[in-house]
C-alpha cells in the first residue's frame, strides 16, 4: 500500500467512524469550503455513513459556482468575438450564462474555445493563433492563482503580445468572513481546503475561532483525512476550546507556500470582487497589477463586466451559503438538471447541486 492509499484504508476508516459515532454526542452542522471535499464526501460514500448527530452542509467552495453571472456573461461576450481565442479549464464549458448560452453552445456557433489542462498551455494556444488574442479565463481560488501568475510572468519573458488573462480569481478567507458574519448562517464548524491552504497556510483562518468561536480544521481529501478532521472538531466542541487546526501537515506548512504567494503578489493585487449569491465582498478578488497591464484582458478595448441579472428561480446563493440543501431548491431535478442546468452548481464537477444529483441515492 503506498502512502496515498493509506489514507483511503477502509479498515482504518471504519475504526474512525466507530469512534466518531461514540464521541459525537452533541449534534453539529459542519461545512466544507472546498468542492474537492464535497465530491470526496459524496463519492467515498462517507456522507451515508456519518453519525446522525453530524449534519453535512455543502459550502461555497467551487470556483466555477461562485463566478458571478456578470463574469460568465463577460466571457460569453468574448467568445462571440472573431478576434479572440478563449483558453479555459474544462469546468467552465457548460456553465450557463444569459439565455442559457454556454461556452459549448458558443463553440457550436463558431467561437474559438480551447480546453487546456494548465494555464501554461494557453501560451501555446496564443503562439498557434498569431492573428488573434488568446484570453485565458482565470477562474479559481488561491490554488490556481499562483500558476496563472507564473504564466503571465512567462508570457512577459517570452514577449508574447497576443496573450491575456481575464482574472476572476477569488480568495477564500474573505468569503468565509462574509459567510460567518451572516446572522442567519447556521454552521458550527468548518473543514478547510487543503489545496488553498497549501498556498496561504492556516493563519488566515484564525478569525473563525478567535472571533466567532468556530472550530475549523485544514485537511486533505481522502476519507481518513475528513474523518480525522471531524473527530478533531468533535473533540474541540467537547472541550469548548475552538481553534483552527492544521491537520494536513503532510502538504500544508504553517505559513503556506511563500514562493507561490510571492508570484501571486507580484502579478495580482487584491480587489473587491463580485461573488455569485454572496454579492460584492471586500478584498476577495485578484486584479492584474499595473505592471502587467498588457496581459490584462479587462483592459482590452470593448471588454467590461456586463450587467447580468441573477438567473430566474436559481437559489445558488442560498445553496452556496449552506442555507438551503440543493434538493430543497424548487428547480432541483425538475427544470434544473445537468442536461438543462439553470445554475452553475448543477454542472460544475464540484458543485453542490451536481453532487446531490450525481451521488445521492435516496432522491
Amino acid at each position: 500500500m503506498n502512502s496515498f492509499e493509506a489514507f483511503k484504508d477502509p479498515a482504518l476508516c471504519r475504526a474512525l467512524l466507530e469512534r466518531l459515532k461514540k464521541e459525537a454526542d452533541t449534534p453539529y452542522r459542519f461545512m466544507e469550503v472546498c468542492g474537492t471535499h464535497t465530491v470526496s464526501i459524496f463519492q467515498s460514500g462517507l456522507r451515508s455513513l456519518l453519525p446522525q448527530t453530524i449534519t453535512h452542509v455543502t459550502g461555497p467552495g467551487c470556483p466555477v459556482c461562485v463566478t458571478h453571472e456578470s463574469e460568465v456573461a463577460c466571457f460569453l461576450e468574448l467568445a462571440a468575438r472573431d478576434d479572440i481565442v478563449l483558453a479555459t479549464f474544462g469546468d467552465l464549458m457548460r456553465v450557463p450564462g444569459p439565455k442559457g448560452k454556454n461556452l459549448k453552445t458558443a463553440q457550436a456557433d463558431g467561437a474559438r474555445v480551447e480546453v487546456v489542462y494548465s494555464p501554461v498551455d494557453a501560451l501555446a494556444v496564443a503562439a498557434a493563433n498569431p492573428g488573434r488574442t488568446t484570453i485565458f479565463l482565470g477562474v479559481g481560488f488561491e490554488t490556481t492563482a499562483p500558476a496563472v501568475a507564473a504564466t503571465i510572468r512567462l508570457a512577459r519573458e517570452q514577449n508574447l503580445k497576443n496573450f491575456r488573462v481575464l482574472s476572476f480569481h477569488k480568495l477564500v478567507p474573505p468569503a468565509l468572513a462574509a459567510l460567518v458574519a451572516d446572522p442567519d448562517i447556521n454552521i458550527d464548524a468548518f473543514i478547510l481546503p487543503g489545496h488553498v491552504s497549501a498556498i496561504i497556510g492556516a493563519a488566515p483562518y484564525g478569525f473563525l475561532a478567535e472571533k466567532h468561536g468556530l472550530p475549523a480544521v485544514v485537511t486533505g481529501f481522502e476519507p481518513l483525512d475528513i474523518l480525522s478532521a471531524l473527530l478533531e472538531i468533535t473533540a474541540m466542541r467537547a472541550s469548548g476550546r475552538p481553534a483552527v487546526v492544521n491537520a494536513y501537515t503532510r502538504v500544508v506548512a504553517h505559513d503556506g507556500n511563500p514562493v507561490a504567494r510571492a508570484v501571486m503578489d507580484e502579478v495580482f493585487t487584491p480587489v473587491d470582487a463580485l461573488w455569485r449569491g454572496l454579492g460584492t465582498l471586500p478584498g476577495s478578488g485578484l486584479d492584474i497589477r499595473e505592471e502587467f497591464a498588457d496581459f490584462d484582458a479587462l483592459r482590452l478595448p470593448g471588454v467590461s463586466l456586463p450587467d447580468a441579472p441573477p438567473l430566474a428561480g436559481c437559489r445558488c446563493g442560498e445553496v452556496l451559503k449552506g442555507k438551503m440543501a440543493p434538493n430543497e431548491c424548487p428547480l432541483f431535478d425538475k427544470a434544473c438538471t445537468p442536461a438543462t442546468p439553470v445554475g452553475p452548481c448543477m454542472v460544475s464537477t464540484e458543485g453542490g447541486c451536481a453532487a446531490y444529483h450525481k451521488y445521492r441515492l435516496e432522491l
Binding site: R47, Y117, K358, Y359, L361
Partner: protein, 333 residues
C-alpha cells in the same frame, strides 16, 4: 500516389484503381471480389444487425487504430446480442489530402481485424470530401450475424438476484484516447483494449446459454451501460466498488485528471448479467479465454431503487452511480 485526392471519389477510372489497389488488396474475399452492386448472403435463423460510425481522434493510438476499432466496435455490438458475427460492410469518408500510407495502414488493420474476428467484408463504399469537410477519415461499419441462443440476451432480461460480471479492467480505451489526444503521458503507458469479443462471447454462451444480458460498455463506460440495463429491466443494480477491476495506470491517470474510469469507454471488454446459479460457470468460461483473464464478479441485481445503480464504496457507504451527462471534462483544480 501519396495523398488521397478528390479524384479518387469521382467514380471514374481513378476511383476504380484506388479501390482495387487498396481496399481489395486488404479486404478482399470471394463475395467482395464479384464486384456486383450488392452482396448476396445466405443466413439461417434469426439474425442480429448493427451499425456504427467511427470518428475517433487520433486515428492511431496505443493499442489500435480507427480501422481495427471500426471492425471491433460493430462486431462486438453484434456479438452482444448472442450472435456470431459473419459479414460486415464498410463506408469510408476520406478527407482530401489524407496520406496514402496512413490509409493503407488503416485498411490493412481492418483486414487483419476482420480475419481475426472471422467476418468477411462483403460491401463497401468510398467518398472523398474536400479538405476541411471531414477530419482525416470517418468509417462506418454495419455488421450482421446469426443468433446462437434463444432467447437472445437482452438488456430487458436482468432479474433480481442475478450476478454482474465484467470481463476485465475498465476505462483503458477511453484514457488511452484522451491521453494521446491531449499529449499527456503517465508514469505507466495506458493502452487501448480494442479487441474482438465474438470468440469469448461464443465460449461463454456455449457454457451458459441462459445469459440474461450482455453489453460492451463503450462510450459512457460501465456506469452508463448498467444504468441503461437497470432502466430497461426496471431493476436496481448494486456494485461493490472494490471489486471493479481498474488498471493502476488508468486509476492514476484518472485521479490526476479528475475523471472517473467507470465512465470511460472500453472497446475490448464486456459485462454479462447471469442467474446466480450459473455465475460460477460463466466466470470460469470467461477467465479461460485470454481476453477475459481479468474477469470479476462486481455486483448484483437488486429489488431496491429500480432503474438506478448504486455503488458500495470501500468504506461501506452507498451512493448513486448515475448516467454520464455529456462528456467528462477534466477539472479546474
Amino acid at each position: 500516389m501519396d495523398k488521397v485526392l478528390l479524384d479518387y471519389g469521382s467514380g471514374g477510372r481513378a476511383s476504380h484503381r484506388f479501390v482495387a489497389d487498396l481496399f481489395f488488396k486488404y479486404l478482399g474475399n470471394d463475395i467482395l471480389a464479384r464486384m456486383d452492386d450488392a452482396a448476396v448472403l445466405s443466413l439461417t435463423g434469426p439474425v442480429a444487425m448493427s451499425t456504427d460510425s467511427f470518428v475517433v481522434d487520433p486515428i492511431f493510438f496505443p493499442g489500435g487504430d480507427i480501422g481495427s476499432l471500426a471492425v471491433h466496435g460493430t462486431v462486438n455490438d453484434v456479438a452482444m446480442m448472442g450472435a456470431r458475427p459473419l459479414f460486415l460492410t464498410c463506408g469510408f469518408i476520406l478527407e482530401e489530402g489524407l496520406p496514402m500510407d496512413d490509409l493503407a495502414r488503416i485498411v490493412a488493420s481492418m483486414g487483419q481485424a476482420a480475419r481475426e474476428a472471422g467476418v468477411r467484408i462483403v460491401a463497401g463504399d468510398t467518398k472523398v470530401v474536400p479538405r476541411g469537410a471531414a477530419d482525416k477519415i470517418f468509417i462506418n461499419t454495419t455488421g450482421i450475424g446469426e443468433i446462437m441462443v434463444d432467447p437472445a440476451p437482452s438488456g430487458h432480461r436482468a432479474a433480481v438476484g442475478d450476478v454482474v460480471i465484467v470481463s476485465g479492467s475498465m476505462g483503458d480505451h477511453g484514457l488511452a484516447i484522451l491521453s494521446t489526444r491531449e499529449g499527456l503521458s503517465f508514469e505507466a503507458p495506458v493502452v487501448s483494449d480494442s479487441a474482438c469479443l465474438a470468440g469469448i462471447v461464443g465460449k461463454l454462451l456455449a457454457a451458459v446459454p441462459g445469459v440474461h444480458a450482455l453489453r460492451d460498455p463503450t462510450r459512457g463506460g460501465l456506469a452508463t451501460t448498467l444504468n441503461e440495463i437497470a432502466g430497461q429491466s426496471n431493476v436496481g443494480i448494486e456494485l461493490t466498488q472494490a471489486d471493479i477491476p481498474i488498471h493502476p495506470a488508468v486509476a492514476g491517470g484518472c485521479a490526476v485528471l479528475g475523471l472517473d474510469p467507470l465512465y470511460l469507454a472500453n472497446e475490448g471488454k464486456f459485462l454479462c448479467i447471469v442467474p446466480e446459479d450459473q455465475a460460477q460457470a460463466a466466470q470460469a468460461a470467461i477467465t479461460a479465454h485470454p481476453l477475459g483473464a481479468g474477469a470479476k464478479v462486481i455486483g448484483r441485481v437488486v429489488a431496491d431503487h429500480p432503474g438506478k445503480v448504486a455503488l458500495v464504496t470501500p468504506l461501506g457507504g452507498k451512493r448513486l452511480l448515475g448516467m454520464l451527462e455529456g462528456e467528462q471534462l477534466p477539472r479546474i483544480c
